[in-house]
Assembly symmetry: C2
Homo-oligomer: 427 residues x 2
């Protein structure tokens, strides 16, 4: 089925500001709460949110095989379960409906009034119920930087890294959408030179610049997903700030991996941008040397050219751009990650989320964490307001942005923005 | 409110075989499917399963504040959310209803027919939708054995182990109830003396003898649960076989912990035995030296005397008892685990599951995994049929049993039994 929603010449009758991440060629999916306390599935064009539940009730999805309440739900899980063909049919229908030359909805004022919302009048919620969250570690630059700092500068990459898309399980219960503030965690740390740990607020709270992909039901238990089929099971992507407490991580992570240093919060951008929308921005990934084992070998373009930016905004001061990276640097592709994840028969369900791992580029200003940007706190970052940052301060807001851009089209994610509050005080 | 369901002198009008794990003092909770394809919440007395959905429809829970369809659901999550007071009211009501001296249901043949099922006529399902699954590593004997084999025999315990109830996140999507077979996983391993990994069936599939506890909603994000309150948030326990592929684990686990070596399957016993039912079997846990940090300090009895057994049953042969352990050996208590888990503000929800980690006792016949019982395959176990086992063979069934016993009472878990099938073949 042609992906007609991607036609770069199409314009919408909804106003789209210049350089918007959300032209009519994007059509991402999300879940929002209206002022009338209605939760609905929706999409976004320009700065307008569109209530797809209302659209469905008004008959605008007629002819597409959907359950009656498909878009009147509080998660996208069921829609994602319906599979790639349905995602494309719905996206194409929305493209046609909001096409500048289509009067059907455009000229129906009553319908427009119940379907179209100003972004300021809605609250974005988590788009999916995330059953399982996996975080990979697939940036060679990041793994190398961490290895240099914490292990052996001469042998920074561990022996398995070039063979395995290394990953581990994260915590679903603390994944929150953009806008929800996060508390500085308490935890155990081992002071330098001491033998006994102390308990208190983490002193080294960091962001990790990541993206994540959302899957559909991929397999039954025991079954694997071949690498050349893996992309069929990826619905779309979001931006992910994988909050980290470096001092807690250092003390706890051997031998079973990071735990409390990571699971206090992970923030995601609320609009899932579909793989269909990102299709024009496919590029070839880095050369993989040594050649991966056959089950991970793939040909063609499986990386995506997504510009990424991180800003830190102190309280009552303007934001400072602290990192510019790109998703195309990732060594392991999303299809390799999903194939590896299911290679042992691990079941993957609709709404599962898989993070990329910190996305660091090759240059010092493209690193994806404060740990790397300040090299463990040795080289503080100068902020626009004159202050310095080694890690994140209380009441700083960390903002991540992501967008694809070519000569005719910009497709973006918007942002994931979250403020670090001081340690939680029990009322 | 008195826990009258625990009265050891009470007898039921339902027949309870001698040495049953399920006398009227147990009253565990589970979810089952009837031959009529109805899914319901239920309990078990002797070898009878009791349909609590039907009981509720017939008015037997009147006077207890429950939503109308509380027990006509396919998971216990909502019931668990209702909290400790409700759990106790319902358990007390069931104890009274099935008391040998209570004619109300006993003498109502029509009601009995729709409420009571033979175990052979139902299928046990997963009792909860597990949002997040955490696995701890809280047996000192197990951590020491693993440290001796894989790291430094002189410094077997890692420096953080005596300070932190070490844990990591597991995968919810592959947790299955007793009776569901499991496939031998495929995966990457590094052959001895080689530099490059190979991909194929794991050669070292192992069980891990564990228990797990199920939580209720404990906190909002940011909030911690003090150690002296933690027990209020623990609903009950199950047996857990945390299937493991040792050769895959060895190659993948540094630095982020076990991943595909564990997430192909975890099997649990289907009846959740409540903490109320286990109350008579509280004992003091091992002395903790050094004293934990203040947030983990607790007085009194927080361990439980639960006998544990593991059997391996080859195809067409009788089972062999390969390990006898006890939950009371655990160094860290469940309340310390839950308190540590929430000490950074990590949100814990109704239906979350937390595994103990492998429960090894102090003697060689009480180790909780084949890895330890055969000391890495060096000392194979003799089976009753004359064969030997270093690890688990295809078509072996691993059976774990657990029960508490004192002079007047036996409260048990039944079993978690699962067969290891050969590697999955795609149809």
């Amino acid at each position: 089925m042609p992906n007609i929603a991607n036609d770069p010449t199409r314009k919408s009758w909804i106003n789209v500001p210049e350089n918007s991440d959300f032209p009519i060629q994007n059509i991402p999916f999300g879940v929002f709460l209206t002022k009338e306390d209605v939760i609905t599935i929706g999409t976004r064009i320009g700065d307008s949110a569109i209530d797809m539940g209302a659209l469905q009730q008004l008959g605008y999805f007629e002819g597409i095989d959907l359950t009656d309440d498909m878009f009147m739900q509080d998660t996208l899980n069921d829609f994602i379960s319906d599979g790639k063909k349905t995602w494309r049919l719905v996206r194409n229908r929305l493209a046609e409906l909001f096409d500048i030359n289509n009067p059907k909805l455009r000229d129906n004022k009553d319908h427009c009034e119940v379907v179209i919302f100003d972004l300021a009048d809605i609250e974005m919620l988590l788009p999916v119920q995330i059953g399982d969250y996996t975080d990979f570690y697939s940036s060679k630059e990041h793994a190398t930087n961490v290895g240099k700092m914490f292990r052996d500068p001469e042998n920074a990459l561990l022996p398995n890294w070039l063979h395995i898309p290394v990953g581990y399980h994260g915590r679903s219960s603390t994944i929150v959408p953009s806008g929800i503030p996060v508390h500085r965690p308490m935890g155990q740390t081992l002071p330098n030179g001491e033998n006994s740990p102390v308990f208190g607020p983490s002193r080294l709270v960091d962001f990790e610049l990541e993206t994540a992909f959302i899957t559909t039901d991929a397999n039954v238990m025991g079954e694997n997903i071949p690498v050349n089929e893996a992309e069929d099971y990826i619905f779309g992507m979001v931006l992910l700030n994988d909050w980290s407490a470096r001092d807690m991580q250092k003390w706890e992570y051997v031998p079973l991996g990071p735990f409390l240093a990571k699971n206090f919060a992970s923030s995601i951008s609320p609009w899932i941008v579909t793989m269909d929308a990102l299709e024009p921005f496919r590029v070839k990934g880095p050369k993989q040397e040594p050649t991966p084992l056959p089950y991970l070998q793939q040909k063609g373009k499986h990386a995506y050219d997504i510009n990424l930016e991180v800003y830190i905004e102190p309280e009552n001061a303007e934001a400072t751009l602290v990192s510019k990276s790109n998703f195309k640097h990732m060594y392991w592709s999303m299809s390799q990650q999903l194939t590896h994840h299911t290679s042992n028969g691990c079941r993957v369900n609709s709404g599962d989320m898989m993070g990329s791992g910190t996305i660091s580029g090759p240059t010092e200003d493209s690193y994806g964490s404060m740990l790397e940007l300040t090299w463990g706190g040795k080289n503080p970052i100068k902020m626009n307001d004159g202050s310095e940052r080694k890690f994140i301060n209380d009441n700083d807001t960390v903002i991540m942005k992501g967008f694809c851009q070519n000569s005719s089209l910009r497709i973006g994610f918007g942002e994931v923005s979250s403020k670090l509050l001081p340690t939680f005080v029990r009322k």
